[in-house]
Symmetry: C2
Subunit: 150 residues, 2 copies
């Protein structure tokens, strides 16, 4: 990863988020955790990632409060990695990336995995809305820099 | 950046998106473009990024269809980088990262920039919903792997 200045002092929440999530590997691990993977070997196999990198990313994600280590659910010696509430709240980020990929990165008719409601099979969408529920475009929005009126 | 297998053949739209967006620098450039920055020097100053890296990322984002190069709007010799429709559709990704950062990465009362509707000043939120408009949690959703029923 290219060395860069830390964004943890940045006033922009997006920048801090990118800094904390760390890199794409970390977000792919989070994706797999949403998908029910819990064990080192499962992540390793699914991502095709080197063990030392995976080990580093799992430790970082745990230190940052996105994953937590729990005892194996079957009483075995393996550790399991579970999403914390903070980790689960990355769900909209994952859905946003998925939605964009579906729209732009597949040929018409090309197969892709789908995110659906378990109970009904309905597709899941992500919407950007104002407080009072109206849909809004980027052009209609603006970033208020710090300091700003509350 | 750590070398890894390409995810462009992956059936998961999130994985392809991460692959195409490239790295955090690229997404920070996209964030700045949403914020109205268009010139090389503006990105460079705002991000504190080395010129060779910025140059590389701008070229890649342009090749991938996220940015387009246009002539300077004031008739000068400078090139400008503008978001394409594909780039603008990363808006929900940016909003999702922002929302998560606001929730977890600032101390209570700590100042941060805010995304609001230009016209009304209303805060902008992002919601994950089913086709028929119900709010849904990660636990209520499931990924259908390929092949799956349409």
């Amino acid at each position: 990863m290219v060395k860069r200045k830390s964004l943890q002092g940045d006033y922009c929440p997006s920048a801090r988020s990118l800094d904390v999530i760390g890199d794409w590997w970390s977000l792919l691990i989070v994706r797999d955790a949403f998908d029910g993977l819990t064990r080192f070997g499962e992540f390793q196999k699914n991502l095709g990632i080197a063990k030392n990198i995976l080990s580093d990313r799992l430790r970082t994600l745990t230190e940052r409060g996105i994953l937590k280590v729990v005892a194996s659910s079957d009483g075995g010696a393996h550790q399991e990695y579970h999403l914390t509430a903070m980790g689960r709240d990355l769900f909209p980020v994952m859905v946003a990336l998925r939605q964009w990929g579906e729209q732009y990165l597949f040929k018409p008719g090309e197969k892709h995995s789908k995110l659906v409601e378990r109970k009904t099979g309905q597709a899941i969408r992500l919407e950007v809305r104002t407080e009072d529920g109206r849909s809004i475009s980027p052009e209609e929005s603006v970033i208020l820099k710090v300091p700003h009126s509350p």
